[in-house]
């Protein structure tokens, strides 16, 4: 090999580099479908369309659970007491500081709509449990208040808010 002049190497070098380049690009490109197939498929995404919820049957203080994108959504019809408790908190003392006004839609503060999944490891917290007039997660003991804010336990964040809007005074559309 070493006795061959450098000019004779040109064709072989070209083949090495071309093969390596095509191989690298090909390997990278074939990873795309191999990885992407595990993401939610078209039917799963289609099933995640917005849902309309009629709020009128929900009485004062009641928490109902509906499903959107196979996630549980809590709708809490808060009493004045619940709202006052949520507002009386010193916001800067919270782990994930958010005033009550950022947790609800303006003019509809009796309605709290949150994703019912504990931000710790995904369990569903139990309503009307715990020390803070909200939820208690049975898995690892996280507690949320009447604005769905984390108050105690290992969860790092407040219960997430789903995208939703009021289509009338008693109807919301989630999604």
């Amino acid at each position: 090999m070493t006795t061959v002049s450098s000019a004779a190497h040109t064709r072989r070098d070209f083949l090495y580099i071309a093969t390596a380049a095509v191989g690298a690009v090909g390997a990278a490109a074939s990873l795309v479908p191999l990885i992407s197939q595990m993401n939610p498929d078209a039917s799963t995404i289609a099933a995640g369309a917005p849902v309309d919820i009629d709020l009128s049957p929900i009485t004062d203080g009641q928490i109902i659970k509906v499903f959107w994108r196979s996630k549980p959504i809590f709708i809490f019809h808060r009493t004045k007491h619940d709202i006052d408790l949520a507002k009386d908190v010193n916001v800067s003392s919270l782990r994930d500081p958010e005033p009550d006004s950022e947790r609800v839609k303006p003019g509809h503060e009796q309605w709290l709509v949150v994703i019912g999944i504990c931000t710790h490891l995904g369990c569903i917290p139990l309503p009307h449990e715990g020390q803070f007039d909200g939820w208690f997660c049975p898995c690892h003991g996280s507690q949320y208040d009447s604005a769905g804010r984390i108050r105690k336990g290992p969860a790092p964040k407040n219960l997430y808010l789903p995208p939703y809007k009021f289509t009338s005074d008693t109807k919301i559309r989630i999604g």
Partner: protein, 408 residues
């Protein structure tokens, strides 16, 4: 694989085969003539037990797969069908479920034995790391198999464990959605877990081959922790190790049979006989017993990212053990201080297992924190320092000397 090559095929067919594929010679030199230290005790039989259990799990698992339906609306019922309708289905499933527990029992004994006798030390670092990889693969396989039952505990275990990845800053949620194939654990998750649960045992079998290969290159460690120096220090694998291993496998099978026939649900959760319900989390989520120490570590830290990091670190740290232990003496027999810290470590690990099954409140949280602290201190502080400060006892000159002295 090493060992003296004294294989002399006797019959004509074996002679014919040996010239074309010397598999007889390989088996002979690895499992017949292979020299094993003469002082191996019964703690050294658990490698054989583990290989046997892998076989049991694969045979029962492949049969269960013939009757199981990996679809979220039918999975639970197909398991009940196996229990009630399939001929001997109850037996196969209970052996598979209890077998998983016994598999982990054996691997924990095997790991503690390796730690006690310093089997991870030079030149067996790669052998040890392959073992840690096998342990990780076992945990992944067992977890996915547990999910396939698709009861309440299956579903919520899948939710909690996959959510561990949501602790990763920035990309956590993207990764979790990708793992699920949806916006929550559901049918796509079940399908991929089934596929992987079938695949991983074969990966384990492959790594076992590497593990045994590395073992036969470095040679077995032994209770004295010194290398064999002369033929007097060893005995051939067959019959000595073969018989000893077979005897212990038979004893182990008696315990497995007791679990299967007398208390088949002792280690299973009653909640897992309720079909998976995405709307309700069981009042208390407890993982299978073999994950409890790590679960206790996770819960002992009241911060999500730190808790998950501690959980994964507590397993990964095992891979660094050969370098964290700075002592040159292998066996705890000649390390009086190490021996005490080792047993404290066993107490901490088993204690964490107990605490993981308790609700996270009061004294249980305090104890979990103490044991978690000791768990990490053992690896990161005690082991590195012991190698420097410990005054070890004198090592015997040879394995045969240590055996004959003990007899005298």
């Amino acid at each position: 694989m090493s060992g003296s090559s004294t294989y002399q095929p006797q019959n004509g067919f074996l002679k014919w085969l040996e010239r074309r594929l010397p598999i007889g010679g390989l088996v002979h030199s690895s499992f017949v003539a292979y020299p094993t230290p003469r002082n191996l005790n019964y703690w050294w039989t658990f490698g054989g037990i583990l290989t046997f259990m892998l076989g049991v799990q694969m045979i029962t698992g492949i049969i269960l797969a013939m009757h199981y339906t990996p679809e979220s609306t039918m999975a639970f019922n197909s398991i009940e069908g196996i229990m009630r309708d399939v001929n001997y289905g109850w037996l196969l499933r209970y052996v598979h479920a209890s077998g998983a527990s016994m598999f982990f029992l054996a691997v924990y004994v095997h790991m503690f034995r390796g730690m006690y006798y310093g089997s991870y030390k030079e030149p067996r670092e790669v052998l040890w790391i392959l073992g840690v990889i096998l342990y990780l693969l076992m945990m992944a396989t067992a977890f996915m198999g547990y999910v396939l039952v698709w009861g309440q505990m299956s579903f919520w275990a899948a939710t909690v464990i996959t959510n561990l990845f949501s602790a990763i800053p920035g990309v956590g949620d993207i990764i979790v959605t990708w793992l699920w194939g949806g916006y929550a654990v559901g049918n796509p998750t079940l399908n991929r877990f089934y596929s992987l649960h079938y695949l991983l045992p074969f990966v384990i079998a492959g790594v076992v081959v590497l593990h045994v290969w590395a073992l036969h290159v470095a040679g077995q460690n032994n209770p004295a922790g010194i290398e064999p120096k002369s033929p007097k220090d060893t005995v051939p694998f067959t019959p000595y190790a073969t018989v000893k291993d077979s005897f212990m496998i038979a004893c182990f099978c008696i315990v497995l049979a007791w679990l299967v026939f007398y208390v088949p649900n002792y280690l299973l959760s009653a909640d897992n006989y309720i079909p998976a319900n995405p709307a309700v989390t069981p009042s208390e989520i407890v993982p299978e017993w073999y994950y409890l120490p790590f679960y206790a570590i996770l819960r002992s830290i009241p911060n999500k990212l730190l808790g998950v990091t501690a959980l994964f670190s507590s397993i990964i740290i095992l891979a660094f053990l050969p370098w964290l232990d700075t002592s040159r003496v292998r066996s705890a027999r000649y390390r009086p201080l190490f021996r005490q810290f080792f047993w404290l470590f066993v107490i901490a690990a088993v204690g964490l297992g107990y605490l993981g099954s308790k609700p996270p409140e009061g004294i249980y949280v305090v104890l979990s924190r103490v044991f978690t602290l000791y768990y990490f201190a053992f690896f990161l502080i005690i082991l590195p320092l012991l190698g420097i400060f410990e005054k070890t006892r004198p090592l015997p000159n040879s394995i045969s000397e240590s055996v004959l002295k003990a007899k005298a």
